[in-house]
Symmetry: C2
Subunit: 378 residues, 2 copies
Amino acid sequence: MAAHLHLPARVGRPIAEIDTPALVIDLDAFERNLDALNRSIAGRDIRVRAHAKTHKCPEIALRQIAAGAVGVCCQKAGEAEAMVEGGVGDVLVSNEVVGGSKLARLARLARRAKVGVCVDDAGNIDAVAAAARSAGVTLDVYVEIDVGARRCGVAPGDAAVALARKLRGSPELRFAGLQAYHGSAQHIRSMTDRRAAIENAAGAVRQTRAALEREGIRCPIVTGAGSGSYMFEIETGAWNEVQPGSYVFMDADYARNEWAAPLPRFEHALFVLSTVMSLPAPGRAMLDAGLKASSVDSGLPSVWHSPGIRYTRPSDEHGVLELDADAPMLHLGQKLLLVPGHCDPTANLHDWYVCVRGGMDQGTVEALWPITARGAGY
Amino acid sequence: MAAHLHLPARVGRPIAEIDTPALVIDLDAFERNLDALNRSIAGRDIRVRAHAKTHKCPEIALRQIAAGAVGVCCQKAGEAEAMVEGGVGDVLVSNEVVGGSKLARLARLARRAKVGVCVDDAGNIDAVAAAARSAGVTLDVYVEIDVGARRCGVAPGDAAVALARKLRGSPELRFAGLQAYHGSAQHIRSMTDRRAAIENAAGAVRQTRAALEREGIRCPIVTGAGSGSYMFEIETGAWNEVQPGSYVFMDADYARNEWAAPLPRFEHALFVLSTVMSLPAPGRAMLDAGLKASSVDSGLPSVWHSPGIRYTRPSDEHGVLELDADAPMLHLGQKLLLVPGHCDPTANLHDWYVCVRGGMDQGTVEALWPITARGAGY
């Protein structure tokens, strides 16, 4: 049967019975992460638009919205479709969408939900407007500026103003503001350097807002900021909406960041449960979770609460563990929890979240949540 | 809709209309790869058991079998299920399977197809036997020996004989031979060093066969060998079955190997089709294919037939292209083909192969093949 029909666990059964490899959420830690985000922004006039590219799961998006988020962001039209089908009423594709069939799908989605999209090209604005006109909808459009990530986005200032002016000429499009996301800053290890990168980005935002004001163009929203930096964006005062995603799960790469106030201490809430399936030689054990179970693009997974046991080499379907001399003895069939190196692409490998309540040692499966935007890169 | 319901292309339409990112097979090159494998082993008494972990697609497995393969290998029980459901009648799980529910599924599968599995532990043999007894089936069991990969498998010689002897005590299990696969040797760049690693592995096989013969235990099959080395295994005479997988597709990592006779010249037949979705600055372009479309564990993808254009940085949903000064001008919406760094985990990210006939420039979509074992890591 196809993977989305293979249920890795049963509700009400203990964690020990989960089939592996499985993607497991510690629900208690997950909920504490939602609370920690809210506490960190309490009393501030700031909107949270949680990033759904991290989890690709409407069940999680709805919980983020119940906790106060105005909606979610996505990176692809297919993700946005999955969110709207799952009951989310407000979705921003925080990315450019290029191509007639993709834009047609996105515009049709705006019949059922509030939908926004980013642009960084004048010709693309014409294509977005044509799609909106054809579907009979109005779209929120954000001009993306490059604030240091050197990915998408026009230069701050005049280039952004030119696109905003063009947007005002399309009745189907509403200039909603600026997308200003410094992705690569999220992983700058030092707090000082990370803050400096965001202060630099804030300069680019202020310059662009000033240029818009000189043209008499109101900029309702400045949106951006990830889990590793969002409090810095807020402190600059240049953003009024933040887009944290990884905060719900965290991962081994984020754990390597220096992490202190004003950022709250988020907890690891996402794990890959795996089984010891070979003990071929002293000091070495093999897990059933390799590249196809836990993404290694940002480093190897770490073994949760297992001193002396290191995940040292992935292959497609195996993970090699090296065991220190004083590590606890492992036995065949034993289950270990991995903290993924990078939560987003790891979630994209699985069809189900197995949600555990009561801790990762003795907890019980409370729910299975389908990862309905898994593979929705289109 | 879920990703397996989103069809990225229509049969009969030109390649230019394929939605992106999409996994595309050049059918002409794919078929030439099947032929090249057959020509390389012509006149030799050797069985091909193609590795389905590469493609996870019964449509491809059936074509490999039609071309002469005795069946396929898989790495997981879930992959084996998908192959049998797709019409494959002979599947070897070239890996250990640990855990009662997985073994029960595997044993039930043996009611519908010839099924084999590997062992490297005496306790696991008892568990495999119990599952076979419970399902009322007989399983082929291979003892895996470590021939240098330092992954699973017992040491060559006496340890393997002890397991083979134990197998003979279980009427539900048939000792089918040795699994002897040197995975890491596949990627040794130099032909000389790669051949030396396999000659070393052959010594381990011969030592084990001799020890089995001393005990009067017949060893019908020695199976192993991947696309990067299988002609070396054949030349040693120690194997009578080979397990190439990547040969149907090849990838950018295999292309970095030194490659000469006796190995045939396989062609790139697998591509990630992607779209230029931002041209933010001179010398830089953004593709819509990042970590979630093309796996980077074995290096970045290369851009097919595009001198002066380099894929230099992936993020989750973006690929950064750097353009040399003399590179051809790109335009928004232009489609480019990427050769994945590593074909196996890349195939595991997608739900469909879009099969193109007539070349990657002007070809036509001939078929869509579902990747039914995508995500079947259980």
